[in-house]
Amino acid sequence: MFGFILRRSAQSLIAVIGLLVLVFFLSRLTGDPAYLYLPLDSSEAQRQAFSEAQGFNDPLYLQFGRYLLGVANLDFGTALSRNRPAMEVALEAFPQTLKLAVIAMSLALVFAVVVGSLAAAKPDSLFDRIASTASLAGASAPDFWVAIVAILVFSVGLGLLPTSGTGTPLHWIMPIFVLTLRPFGLLVQVVRGTMISALASPYVKTARAKGVQRTQIIFRHALRNSLLPVITVAGDLAASLVNGAVVVESIFGWPGIGKLMIDAIVRRDFALIQATVLITAVAIFVLNILIDLLYARLDPRIRFQAK
């Protein structure tokens, strides 16, 4: 198992480096940051001096080499827009997104498993039809629009919830709701689908013939076997959860990594873009490895043999 973790980490490391190279050169294409960071009436000479001081005048490969050297020494550069170490700023925002994502994903998983199982227990019943349609709607809804409608109803209309920001527990409700919606919708479909085929399988028939209780059949026999594909999909959804976080954070003014990244892109803050991308990528790769390990825990047929 240790060998497996090592191998996967090596693969992920290559992927992270590839991503950093991509982001480094792409962000350099966006234009000269000197125009954004110096006052509008600054002279050409001042801009030159600024670029020179920041090293933006050097050839790209030199800049990249310097960047890699810095990363090796855990120096990720300075976030120009905030005049602070880029990694410090990114690490401050990261937990805010992580909290949102973990809560949203847990809620989505729990609700999806319960709703999906109950829907699969009686296919084509009224509950099943409502659950299927509602989950499809959840999976199809544009999250930014749901966020706006939620603000419209609960903040503008009813005045119950704050429109944006952080602080009170009330601030958490809408971002989490919006972020939960799509994974919930997609997961209900997966749970329902796998549960329907699990409930039609021979071992469930056997259990039924033995007189095992219905709830026990659903949650003990069928659900356990249906969990694997659910976890696969949930893992794939984690990356797209970051997509949702970008939208949700920018609408609700949530000080997370998604909003930080948009700010950094718009302000041509190269060091900050790289730091946020690096953190997001590492987080996702760690998650992928964790999911693989969880797989082995859940499914005894999977073993990490060194091939």
């Binding site: 590839g18 792409l26 962000s27 199809s140 544009p142 629009w145």
Partner: protein, 310 residues
């Protein structure tokens, strides 16, 4: 299987699909709505052309459900007094068009790379798969934001970015299928007859893989519509004066307190379109699955009494 039998069967099979869809109210509604949207996308600009940009200052921020300014303003008007209904109808073209091109290109490129990766099992195949892994594992929206900001937002860049983020899906599916198909008898036979690699890949393997790709493309279409809307909403997608439904929601965002309809209708249009697409693809999945098909064939035909199967 002889050819005459095949041609004889096809029309009835197609007719049966339509008949079964018509029996499912939800699927029928989805088909009708999508047909409407497609018609809007094709004929909308031609029908509504001048209404879209025409400011009507008497209708500024006009509330919906009033016919005071004529039928075009039944869904209200935006801050410049432009008819929202007309903009919705015309916006369908860009919204669907961009997604269509993106799906087409990602299918084309992903399919092509997948054929190579599946057929040639060499170092090249490994490189392709690794790159696909990188693209897959990183949040597509962030990648798209970075690329769009560097290359500048435009319709063609939007299509490129959306296509690139979806390529790995087609690539992996194609590769998996190719790995299986290349072991089949007819491929060995073609090889034995001396067919070149190109001929084997494009004449013998590709046609087998294509239907799967088209199915995935249809399912993926809704995701691409959503992705484009998100990008346009964040301001890095389509740029004025061009607009999509996502961009329309972004415009309305600033006027939530006094004119909710500007942001509400285009979002609803996106929701209904993606929902219809998902309903249909779900329906199709059930229909195509021999173990599940009876659910559709039995459903709603007078309290579970099965219809005679043909």
């Amino acid at each position: 299987m002889t050819i005459p039998a095949d041609t004889k069967q096809k029309p009835t099979a197609r007719f049966q699909v339509l008949r079964l869809i018509a029996r499912n109210k939800l699927a029928l509604a989805a088909v009708i709505f999508l047909t409407l949207v497609v018609l809007c996308a094709i004929f909308g600009p031609w029908l509504m052309g001048n209404l879209v940009d025409k400011p009507n200052f008497r209708a500024r921020n006009m509330a919906p459900f009033s016919l005071a300014q004529g039928w075009a303003y039944v869904l209200g008007a935006d801050t410049l007094g432009r008819s929202l209904l007309a903009r919705l109808i015309v916006g369908a073209q860009n919204t669907l068009g961009i997604a269509l091109f993106a799906v087409f290109f990602s299918m084309l490129i992903g399919g092509f790379l997948g054929l190579i990766a599946g057929y040639s099992r060499g170092a090249l195949s490994n490189v392709i798969l690794r790159v696909a892994d990188i693209v897959m594992s990183f949040p597509s929206l962030l990648l798209a934001l970075i690329v769009l900001f560097s290359l500048g937002p435009s319709v063609s860049n939007l299509v490129i970015v959306l296509a690139v983020t979806r390529i790995p899906i087609y690539l992996r599916t194609t590769r998996a299928e190719v790995l299986e198909v290349r072991e089949r008898m007819f491929v060995s036979a073609a090889m034995a007859l001396g067919a070149g690699h190109m001929r084997i890949v494009f004449r013998h393997i590709a046609p087998i893989v294509l239907p799967t790709l088209v199915t995935i493309g249809a399912i993926d279409f809704a995701t691409v519509v959503l992705a484009e809307s998100s990008l346009s909403f964040l301001g890095l997608g389509i740029q004025a004066p061009e607009f999509t439904w996502g961009a329309m929601v972004a415009t309305g965002r600033g006027y939530l307190a006094n004119a909710w309809w500007i942001a509400f209708w285009p979002g609803l249009a996106i929701l209904l379109t993606t929902l219809s697409l998902n309903i249909l693809s779900n329906w199709w999945r059930t229909y195509a699955d021999p173990q599940q098909r009876w659910r559709i064939e039995l459903a709603r035909s007078k309290k579970g009494i099965p219809e005679k199967r043909t």
